[in-house]
Symmetry: C3
Subunit: 274 residues, 3 copies
């Protein structure tokens, strides 16, 4: 349903508006579609991808689309932060932590500030920041093959993307803690019951049903949708920015902690042995 195959080079509606390997952005039917396209790595996010998404959202804020949609190529939606962002950093962990906190804060801010309806089409498993970011989306449609996993404690880390605020607000602390502190993995149905997901679809009809619906939504009066979202978001925009700043500061310290470094080293070396 997207237009990856459409003509390129010119800027405009119904055309591919940005060239990239790991992020594919297309525009059609009033929808800016942002596809994470690193399927061999389960769409894990590199520093470059964070930066590219910041630019993509900036462009989508003012293009002629009515809504913006994130999805993933392949079986995964997104496996979260690529841990080699840390282990392969030229300046070592401290430099990586400093740089990472700056990029992360700007990245999350671009979601807080995005002015149009923002929809996630969760085609498969979501991990870490790919899950926590959903609290900043306006609607989340999930295949019944999707799962939602935030193993922050297991990796010696702490929640980000304002999830320390949005998750307890959305689902209550009894359920937010199971995810954010204890790393409980949720099925799509469980994520729906807890308010993280708007609706779950059978995987076999997922793409068809969701995109049909999204094309209909994209035809609604765009100013009304933008202004209604602004009303909703303004109730907590200041709070969200403060939470994001605090989470990034906390996470930077976590990244340099023994708990975190040991956990990441174990994770990466286990992967390397496979």
């Amino acid at each position: 349903p997207s237009s990856e195959a459409s003509s390129q080079g010119k800027r405009g509606a119904d055309e591919k508006v940005q060239e990239s390997k790991d992020i594919v952005v297309t525009s059609e039917d009033g929808i800016t579609k942002i596809m994470l396209n690193r399927p061999a790595k389960k769409n894990a996010l590199t520093f470059e991808m964070y930066k590219e998404i910041i630019l993509t959202l900036k462009n989508a804020s003012t293009d002629n689309s009515a809504i913006a949609v994130f999805t993933g190529a392949g079986d995964y939606y997104c496996s979260g932060n690529d841990l080699t962002n840390f282990t392969s950093a030229a300046g070592g962990m401290e430099e990586a932590a400093n740089q990472g906190a700056v990029v992360l804060r700007e990245f999350v801010n671009s979601f807080i500030d995005f002015p149009k309806p923002l929809v996630a089409v969760v085609n498969g498993p979501a991990v870490g920041i790919a899950v926590t970011l959903l609290g900043l989306f306006d609607a989340v449609y999930a295949s019944d093959k999707a799962t939602f996993h935030t193993p922050f404690s297991h990796l010696g880390q702490s929640p980000e993307a304002c999830s320390s605020y949005t998750f307890p607000k959305m689902m209550g602390s009894a359920k937010a803690t199971e995810m954010l502190l204890f790393g409980k993995k949720l099925t799509a149905r469980e994520a729906w019951a807890q308010g993280l997901v708007s609706e779950v679809f059978p995987d076999s009809t997922f793409e068809k049903e969701v995109w049909t619906r999204l094309r209909a939504y994209a035809k609604l009066p765009p100013n009304s949708m933008r202004i209604s979202k602004e009303l909703i978001r303004n109730n907590e925009k200041e709070k969200l920015h403060a939470v994001n700043a605090e989470e990034c500061t906390t996470l930077k310290a976590r990244w340099l902690s023994e708990e975190c470094i040991n956990a990441i080293m174990n994770f990466v070396s286990r992967k390397a042995k496979l």
Copy 2:
């Protein structure tokens, strides 16, 4: 179960306390019952009805009832704002928008400030402001024939009655946006799952079960209920007033926008052709 047939004229408990055509107010068993009574128009709210409800809630604040209950006459609970409030306004749309925003703000404030338990008995479909207001009620009982529909974007409008705050707080943004921006219509069961409705009853036993329960609740110590509600409401009363003001300002501008005027004209002319 109400006392519409009881003697009239005298002010007091267990009697009809206010005379009107479109709003019928009765008092019995410690309950002030406010019935929207314009069934030929699906209980759509005229400017006059807004003003009458403001007065009714003011009276009910200090009468000898323990709780107040809204319900609708006929098959509908309430089809929302009567769009002829705009198209039939003597001074044209601009005058109607100015007047409408003032009345709406005072109307919603009277729900924010109402000091006793406020219950909605949703006997059938609810639309627009009849839905959004439910976020300011203390309990909502619904027939399984009830539906909940807020097609604001379809009409070029934006959310009111503090729903830009109460709905995301109650159900998370993934579900609030589907209602408030995308105009998704909910069944009673869906509204229950999302916290908007306290309990759903089969239509056949709805009235009997709900009023039995309400009569029992109305016998509880009234000061305790009033003071407990005050504790709860005070946590966000200031915020609710600020949200209401902002929503009314936004909606006034919407009413004068091309998107909205076109949508309302289309809606009214479609109706006229039927």
Copy 3:
């Protein structure tokens, strides 16, 4: 699965750390277990028990456990505040109300400020403050024999333990009011649907499944869990303290009201006649 039978007298891990009749505190596998142990009175809380729990939480804040867990001995989790705290007070109701409000505020503050993951293992019925406090826990596991009942209005009282804030936030006002104002008793499954309970287990396997899970959680990096909880709690710690203060002031006045005194006298004399 706990170590009540373990050696006593020395302070340290895997040992009984505090001596008491009505509160039994043990430490094992990184878990501080706090058991309400007054089964003949359904674990109702006396003034002494409130004070003991304050001290216990203070100790558990800095001991070498990763998490702290509350549970009840016998069939009940906890039947709430022991009403003889009022009727048996030496200085009469006024003295009891003053003292009660001071102790309650400090008691609730010790839950607001507790820095580690705090889990409730709800083995049976919970009443009153044993229910409202759950809004300050990080996870709540319930047997399917558990029930959740807050008959504040029936006793002429008002909500405490920040539930006037946490319950509407968690479940929306349509459901919070049914509990806090109308005294509706919830099953474990209903409490789960409304976000008060993290997960419900069949009573036959409850203890085994829950403690297996808790022992696994207690092995996660403790600093990550503590810091993640701090991030979450800091978003509303100031608000929670303010709500607690307001609730205690309100409740002190309630305790001296005619509605409340009559309700408690009726309750105690009914009990005495059995």
